[in-house]
Symmetry: C2
Subunit: 457 residues, 2 copies
């Protein structure tokens, strides 16, 4: 059999997982693998950047799962600082530019993996590109931020956006002893939660000395005489800032794919089949932060940028390219994050999302503790559960608490995958011992209340 050529665009989680998995299944005599990465780093944990920024972990080396040299030793021709500028679908080739020399060349492929990731949202505001304004998406971004912090003239930080990157960065900057203000357009931080649960996050953040300003639209970035950021302007006031961090979320980085005519969904992410093959293209695959995935609860595709999904996508793509068979069935929308000792988790649908899907539902919110109430360090948590009216099917869970809160959402994630009802959940045989749970696990308490509410009609 002829030697086939695999080309990978993007050297982070999805791309390099795909390349590594394909390499394990096919030796270099059967398959050549070339991967292009425009940055200085490959195979790293972008999710670790806020902890690097906060000095909790060392970086950037600790965040790198496998060095470019290690990939090359395993027979993957990884070209760093090399940007793919064109995908010629019909011609089965990509054009890549070496960023140092500016040299460009075409590379033919039999299989192509598009793993171009995501880019931080950067609103088109005056001053947004000023020195002292940082995105936090790549290790290069992280390095730029850390270098910038060393040069910052003062210790006032403004984080724009109170999504999970925003709150994680708020923690990081608090650890660096910055005065931190977080500006959020919505009524509450963490718009990945319902507003009533977001309010709990706000309260906790305020208790940590983080100034959370909501219902506020940023109108511009003011710069000083030196051209550096000086303040963030909103509708009605200015927030002095020595450092500004953008925590407005990310969008799929699919300009290249769009130019090549590959199909994009509503959020701009690539659309694939369950084997992670780009729809309508037998030999083009896509995974990671640049794709939309099937949401198993809503039945629609959506964009979820998370390293854990990217790794799974890469595994699936690599298996398929390597001659095996694997699929990625979809997500249920699980996310966990923390800000200082506050743990925040969600899975499934929010109220607004369920309503938008045409679903009728009940909600149940309960308070419980992470351990038996009498056990030391039992910490409070609030669990909110959504269940469909009539059927009682679980639709979503949100948890805000302290130590021991966040990972309890996994129970709901599995229950959502199995399409359980909240009544079925009340009988779940979850691990119980006083150091680990009250005799009724908080998730079960929420399920009982939701089940009773469903029964009332």
């Amino acid at each position: 059999m002829a030697q086939r050529r695999l080309v990978v665009i993007g050297g982070d989680a999805a791309g390099m997982s795909a390349a590594s998995r394909a390499r394990r299944l096919k030796d270099p005599g059967q398959l050549t693998i070339t991967a292009f990465e425009r940055g200085r780093f490959a195979s790293y944990s972008a999710c670790g950047i806020p902890y690097w920024a906060g000095g909790v972990v060392d970086g950037p080396d600790a965040l790198i799962a496998r060095t470019p040299e290690a990939h090359r030793e395993r027979g993957i021709d990884l070209r760093m600082r090399t940007e793919v500028t064109d995908i010629d679908v019909a011609g089965q080739r990509v054009r890549a530019r070496d960023l140092a020399s500016g040299r460009e060349a075409w590379h033919g492929f039999d299989d192509l993996v598009v793993a171009t990731g995501a880019r931080p949202v950067r609103p088109p505001l005056e001053g947004i590109d000023a020195p002292g304004v940082y995105g936090v998406q790549t290790l290069d971004d992280g390095q730029a931020l850390l270098d910038g912090l060393r040069q910052a003239p003062g210790r006032r930080a403004v984080v724009i956006g109170a999504g999970y990157i925003g709150v994680e960065m708020a923690e990081a900057l608090r650890r660096r002893e910055y005065e931190v203000t977080v500006l959020e357009r919505s009524a509450q931080p963490m718009s990945t939660l319902d507003p009533d649960m977001g309010a709990l996050v706000r309260e906790a953040m305020s208790g940590m000395g983080i100034d959370v300003v909501t219902d506020t639209a940023v109108t511009g970035i003011r710069t000083g005489r030196d051209g550096r950021v000086a303040a963030v302007a909103t509708d009605d006031r200015e927030f002095p800032a020595d450092v500004v961090v953008l925590g407005l979320g990310v969008r799929p980085e699919t300009g290249l794919a769009e130019a090549a005519g590959l199909p994009l969904g509503e959020s701009g992410g690539l659309l694939t089949d369950l084997a992670m093959r780009v729809r309508g293209h037998d030999n083009i695959w896509a995974g990671g932060d640049c794709v939309e995935v099937l949401d198993l609860v809503s039945g629609r595709t959506r964009h979820v940028a998370l390293g854990t999904h990217a790794n799974k996508h890469g595994q699936v793509i690599g298996t398929n390219v390597g001659g095996g068979y694997a699929t990625f069935p979809g997500v249920v929308g699980t996310a966990v994050s923390k800000v200082c000792d506050l743990e925040i988790a969600r899975t499934g649908l929010l109220e607004a999302q369920a309503t938008a899907m045409g679903l009728r539902f009940v909600t149940a919110t309960i308070e419980s503790t992470s351990r038996a109430g009498y056990y030391p360090q039992a910490r409070p948590m609030t669990v909110k559960m959504l269940a469909e009216r009539g059927t009682g099917r679980l639709l979503g869970v949100q948890i805000v608490g302290r130590e021991g809160a966040a990972k309890r959402v996994d129970v709901a994630a599995v229950a959502l995958t199995a399409r359980m009802t909240v009544d079925q959940m009340t009988a779940l045989d979850l691990g119980y011992a006083p150091p680990f749970s009250p005799v009724w696990d908080p998730v079960l308490v929420a399920a009982r209340k939701a089940s009773a509410t469903v029964a009332e009609g």
Copy 2:
């Protein structure tokens, strides 16, 4: 409608949950509720006793969920220190003895709840009843142990049996600065785990300065001149002991039920239907540590003494007696425990149990960490997974690790309930962020390995 009479035998988790739930559904004009408890305490957390013994929590008050007075105020006639000595099934009455006065009386019932709990296994050995030998099942036992510790002449403790009560008591006695020896008949501690996983527990316990002696049968308890325990004798040696704790597990306390002709299973536990009605008896219910429950993985009934199940049973019984409808579908065999900072968890079937069921299976054992490897306090854990050959259906999971290990078993408990395959589990959307999990959660790593092993045939 005539006033009905509910009689409850046993005032702990199952009995008082049933009584409380029935009371919420029916007022005293509709239903009288009389509950008999032979001990000095009711509605308590027996699971908390090892932590009370270790001085981690205060006792006994902190372990009492609701006092007898509080029950009485809610319209439950709870009679303490009153032992039921006879169940007259045909006559629909029980005979109860006031232990203080010795007075006996018959009490008629329309519905009866048998919630007589379990008793610690006490092998018929010479000296087993000597002062200084303690079981750990009731709060009365716990109080006797604590009183005994204050009188113990020295600080050498021997725990007989290395099941979960045994290892928890080993921790408690270490906290009290005893020299602790644990004697176990099997080859490894924690026979609720496979031996290879039990070996990890043994290694960790040894590292905590607990002497674990396995493959050892206790032949007798030696007493000193004062009649107190002096040593524990085995086949080949004697272990000096100032205190001996029995950690040999428990058996259903069903002598009363057996004498009344109620149906018992192989382990001596009462057999019920899914509504927790004693089989063949329309108006007799049973729950908690005195019943056998359906194991959803093996399809057989077995005895599982756990407070969390007892509470669920009580809830189901109380709902049914109160005119509602509820069932307890069964268990999957989840248990979590800790000894010092070691966390131990299991769910589903062990290798020996699966083999006994006629199942053919593969196993996969992996090592991972509780958080991203680069995140502070990432602690190691070992996860073992059993999956059925051919179908790939999950059969069981065992976890031994440190902080963040035990409650991960809940994911497997839900997956077992939903009869998922290990291949389906590889795609589970579990919460990921560096403080909470590596990018592949340890349970997913195990599922991947198990799935690959199933695929190899």
